[in-house]
Symmetry: C2
Subunit: 437 residues, 2 copies
């Protein structure tokens, strides 16, 4: 369909932070002919998915059509497709119905949930990696309040009003904070039979502290902010079992049975199944979490033209531990590759190894409370919240999204309303059956 | 759960325009104890669903949580539930898990699609009545362009690039206009292999003209505006059959076979299945379309305390034909009932019959082209578009929604982008299976 005329063909798998930032940085280089392949037709701003899950934002606010974002680059071809395999010998990426030859390949397919061998928990405790995940979570949260309003059984009501968040990392902390806000403020005048601020929100973390990797002082601040919102925090508390109507957690005195109908998973992630394909086809090593071990130049061993970036990759050449699975790492890696290819095409292969500049970490805990660790400075309370809001808005792709989200936040801030708390799902599309006597 | 203390108990079924406006008008009357039952937890602004279907707006922009809208009225109880039956003798509304006794009952459950006996067409030609419908339609439209971009088969591409809209009423006209804009402007720089303005958009109507019921001059203007956007209009053209890959339409010279993969249904509606329940339980007459025949005071015959309003009702006491199934009629009927009950509680049963004030009709055809018939004055072009925009925004429930939609429209107007064109669906929630050799 397209003439490639001896241009250097780059295939990018994945339109997340890594793939999209690589594509945008490479789009200016007319010596490259780029194909970006994604299963979906949009880039998703995953750090804000928990806002969709809790009714603060709509999916459209945090997603941008990939074609629209990239259409000004005439050398980028966007393909909606799912990569099934890679032919290492021929240098070809294979989707269900097409093949794409590459000179350089960038694999940036991200990560998905991980239930540590308890995959049966997935149906009971949804995580948030996709828009569909977030809508499923949103439906469960708001449906639980609706069902609690209806039931006359106090035990059932208790289980319906108990929300258990698994995982004390940023996702779990942000989810629990948003749940606390929902129950204590947003919904408090909306029901008759229940008092939503009686809802029990539990955050359980297997490790000894929340926000592992953040300075301890900030982790403590986060704990206090969550407690103010009524969130009960249990560290050193692994989850032993998840069932339809309860969760079993490990406590110092044995096991504790917690009746709950809503479990939200903010714990483990594992890399895309493409990591296994890379292992099989290129003989690359995977780490224990399944991530692809990459070289200082982000390529895989023995294949200088095959790169893996973002959440799929294990880059351990900077610190004693791998770089964290956050957007900033993926973005910087994508931009690095654009520079690397530019140099290489000019015959200069001497670009120095990738180096991540940590711009800081942050997590938000409800309205005007957040913790941030930026350039070694710790922030908390509303200054951290404000920084968090502006940084997140700055990185949203597309002018529309930025303005919409800014407005939504300003409005959520002043009213504490969450207008997007719709209970939707495919089962509603069915035509109701009336019982005829 | 709640003390009713001899108050007059009103049960409202449905939180659409009729039910919501009735509830809001009655909420101020402390002598009433109101229960609003809806299957969903939100009010939906149906007139803008076609914007969701074509990627211009997000579901959250046109939906408002019923509890949030009504929480300032302490005498209104919102129940999320689906009404299964009504016990006429006991005066009780029955849902799957609850019963609600009423002194006055207002049934405002709306309408759903109607395929005129060809219900098998529903899976092939989705209509738009719910958010799920609109998302299904959105997915099909944008997926068709993606598939057309990929295929090498010219025949398949032609079918994928042909969009057939059934029905020349406001819904069909607005859908076809939005499709014309999408193909001619929004998407035109987004693809490599296809030219989206080669897309064929067909609007077929069984009757002799578009916008039946509008002044003929405006119907002509609408026709011209659609043609400018590349829409091919066929009046006097009933649909004979719909299949996976083609539609058969009746033409003057027999039948015409149109290869198409995307059929959008904007034609018939039929009332909620509750109409049949009312027929069975109260012996009320239904018209040929299945709507409930109502009396001048909006109640059903022989039951002065059971009312039916909105799209479910046939009110034929004003003109020679029933009032149209539009939001204005339902809203005015809801407000009328609040006045009626107020008078009745004061012992005065002499309120004059309901009378609909027609504030005009309008339809929008793409960016700054619309037709409006307001108070006998006809408008078209951008003045009509502007009127349409402001009237729609004014009636959106909730301040948030108004501002968001205003911003979205201003932005869509200036950029012709449609940021909400995400292809989503439950099948994306599955974990991808990698083919292992």
């Amino acid at each position: 369909m397209r003439e490639t005329k001896n241009k250097h063909r780059v295939v990018i798998i994945g339109g997340g932070f890594g793939g999209l930032y690589a594509a945008r940085a490479m789009g200016k280089n007319r010596d490259l002919e780029i194909t970006l392949i994604d299963k979906r037709n949009f880039h998703l701003f995953q750090p804000l998915l928990y806002q969709v899950a809790t009714g603060g934002l709509s999916p459209g606010d945090i997603a941008s059509p990939l074609r629209a974002v990239l259409n000004r680059f005439k050398n980028i071809d966007v393909v909606m497709g799912e990569v099934k395999d890679i032919d290492a010998e021929r240098g070809v990426v294979i989707t269900a119905d097409q093949e794409f030859a590459y000179d350089s390949l960038i694999v940036a397919a991200g990560a998905r949930h991980h239930y540590f061998g308890n995959e049966q928990w997935e149906a009971l405790a949804p995580g948030i990696k996709t828009i569909e995940d977030a809508l499923e979570m949103r439906q469960r949260i708001f449906q639980a309040f609706e069902s609690a309003e209806k039931t006359d059984d106090p035990k059932e009501r208790e289980a319906l009003m108990t929300f258990l968040v698994v995982g004390g990392g940023p996702t779990g902390v942000e989810l629990a904070g948003a749940m606390g806000e929902l129950a204590s403020y947003t919904l408090k005048n909306d029901f008759q039979a229940i008092k939503t601020n009686d809802a029990k929100i539990l955050l359980v973390e297997a490790g000894p502290q929340l926000l592992n990797g953040y300075p301890e002082k900030l982790a403590l601040k986060a704990t206090k902010s969550l407690q103010k919102l009524g969130v009960e925090i249990r560290t050193n508390t692994p989850v032993l079992d998840i069932q339809q109507d309860h969760v079993l957690i490990k406590t110092s005195d044995g096991e504790t049975y917690i009746p709950t109908k809503t479990v939200l998973w903010g714990a483990g992630v594992k890399p895309s199944a493409l990591a296994t394909v890379l292992h099989d086809r290129f003989g690359v090593n995977l780490d224990r979490a399944g991530r692809v071990m990459i070289e200082p130049g982000l390529n895989i061993a023995n294949h200088p033209n095959v790169f893996v970036i973002g959440d799929m990759a294990n880059f351990s050449h900077q610190d004693d531990k791998p770089l964290p699975g956050v957007a900033q790492v993926a973005m910087q890696q994508g931009v690095y590759l654009a520079k690397l290819l530019k140099k290489r095409l000019r015959g200069n292969a001497s670009l120095k190894p990738f180096r991540y500049t940590d711009k800081g970490n942050m997590a938000v805990i409800g309205r005007n409370a957040a913790v941030a660790d930026i350039g070694g400075y710790g922030f908390s309370g509303w200054p951290a919240w404000l920084i968090w809001v502006f940084i997140h808005i700055a990185y949203l792709i597309g002018f529309d999204n930025k303005v919409l989200v800014l407005f939504q936040w300003a409005s959520n801030y002043f009213t504490r309303k969450r207008g997007a708390r719709l209970i939707t799902g495919t089962h509603f599309a069915e035509i109701p059956q009336i019982v005829r006597r």
